[in-house]
């Protein structure tokens, strides 16, 4: 197709990076929605639901993304349909981000002083009103830096989708490296594109952290 690593290859890499961005966006949106539910269950009143959501977090955080991906890929195939890699990757990364975001947001909700719950309860607010008007707005501010930080992790983890042959940035890099026999230039270019995607977000997360004066508890 082409013998050397040049602008053509870089254009192909940039086009493939769109899939990386799309996959990250999908997993972040869906995983965010699911993670919100996980965080609410994890901080909720029912001990059974709290135990279940804690187990979910523990199991997903104890499994490599690659294994989640394989389980999703072959699990969906059991239903008998031909699985597009994008679908399997979206499912796996949604599960992945729901557990991590759920745990991050649980920490944010828990870090709101109990007195805030008590004060709002004394105003005869229902539990949902307490969450909606008192707790979540405060927790949201605290959650911004770690959430943006996690987005960086998510973007980097989409590279794993290359291992089920989804042609995103890393997979395109492999294909080009094989075609041009220039693995060094190719993978450094791939790394640079990831860097350009991730570095501004990392910096943004740090800026948010400083500006809000709510350093992540480490």
């Amino acid at each position: 197709m082409f013998g050397q690593f040049g602008w053509h290859a870089i254009t192909l890499l940039l086009l493939a990076a769109r899939w990386t961005v799309l996959l990250s966006a999908l997993a972040f949106a869906l995983g965010g929605a699911a993670g919100f539910v996980v965080a609410l269950l994890r901080t909720g009143r029912s001990p059974v639901l709290r135990g279940l959501s804690a187990t979910y977090i523990e199991v997903v955080q104890g499994t490599p993304v690659l294994i989640l991906l394989f389980v999703a890929y072959f699990g969906v195939a059991l239903v008998g349909i031909d699985v597009p890699p994008l679908l399997a990757a979206s499912i796996a990364l949604t599960v992945f981000s729901s557990a991590y975001l759920g745990e991050i947001w649980r920490g944010c909700i828990d870090s709101i002083p109990r007195a805030q719950w008590e004060a709002s309860e004394s105003l005869a607010m229902t539990r949902w009103q307490q969450l909606r008007h008192i707790i979540l707005p405060q927790a949201f501010r605290i959650s911004l830096p770690p959430t943006v930080g996690f987005l960086v992790q998510l973007i980097k983890n989409t590279s794993v989708a290359s291992l089920i042959s989804m042609v995103e940035l890393t997979r395109e890099g492999q294909l080009i490296a094989n075609a041009t026999f220039r693995p060094l230039s190719t993978f450094v270019a791939v790394a640079l594109i990831y860097f350009v995607l991730c570095f501004p977000l990392s910096k943004f997360s740090q800026t948010l952290e400083r500006r809000l004066h709510v350093g992540r508890q480490s």
Binding site: P47, V48, R50, G51, A54, T55, I57, E58, V59, Q61, G62, T63, P64, V65, L66, I67, L68, F70, V71, F74, G75, A77, L78, G80, V152, K156, N157, T158, S159, V160, S162, L163, T170, G173, Q174, A177, R182, P183, L184, T186, F187, V188, V190, A191, Y194, F195, C198, F199, S202, S218
Partner: protein, 246 residues
Amino acid sequence: MYQFNFAPVIHYLPKLLAGALLTLTISSVAIALGFALGVTCAVLRDNGPSPVRMLVSIYVEAVRNTPFLVQLFIVYFALPTVGIKLTAVEAGLVAMVANLGAYAAEIVRAGMEAVHRLQLEAGAALGMSRLQILRHVVLPPAIEAVYPSLTSQFILMMLASSLLSAISVGELTGVAQLLDSLTFRSFEIYAAVGVLYVLITLLMKAAFQGIGYASFKRWRRLRTGPAWSFAPLKPLRRLWTNGRDA
């Protein structure tokens, strides 16, 4: 309707366990070396001459903002083109150490920043050298303070070692891929491997907690260390403690 069949998993369990052992071995070596590299980088980034500081910063940011898989491909596929040939296991280890070193550096540095300046002055007043202050005054409380973040990073590294299967290392995931191609029981095998990874994670968590108690006197004397518990069971504890603690 699909019939689940876990017989191949049970039949090949010894192979899977051997893979799990390799995962543990590689991870342990990478964690030990990566931690040492991380502490060195954290110290250099704050105390070294300015070109060294800049180099360390570039290294840390470059690693933290690119995927581990790409780093692995660079070490395994790209370094041979400049004359550095490594076996798959060696390449995997190099990539893991380089990756963990950058994350550990950032975490340890946060811990060092949390040590009060007066502690340094007190050390200097006792006539300690800079190296002695670092060794006896700064690092111990710094590492104790960030120990939980550090150990979660170690566990993330162990999980990331599954990517070594992409360069044909026969660790747990590598064995799983082999068995998958032998038996075609993909779902069952990967589900079982997922369970094994969760078990390894729990094992490592317990081990790090033990190491923490052995290393930090304050945890033992003042009981400030984490309680021995399994997170998912914590909320359920109310059921048998009759709601006495949350």
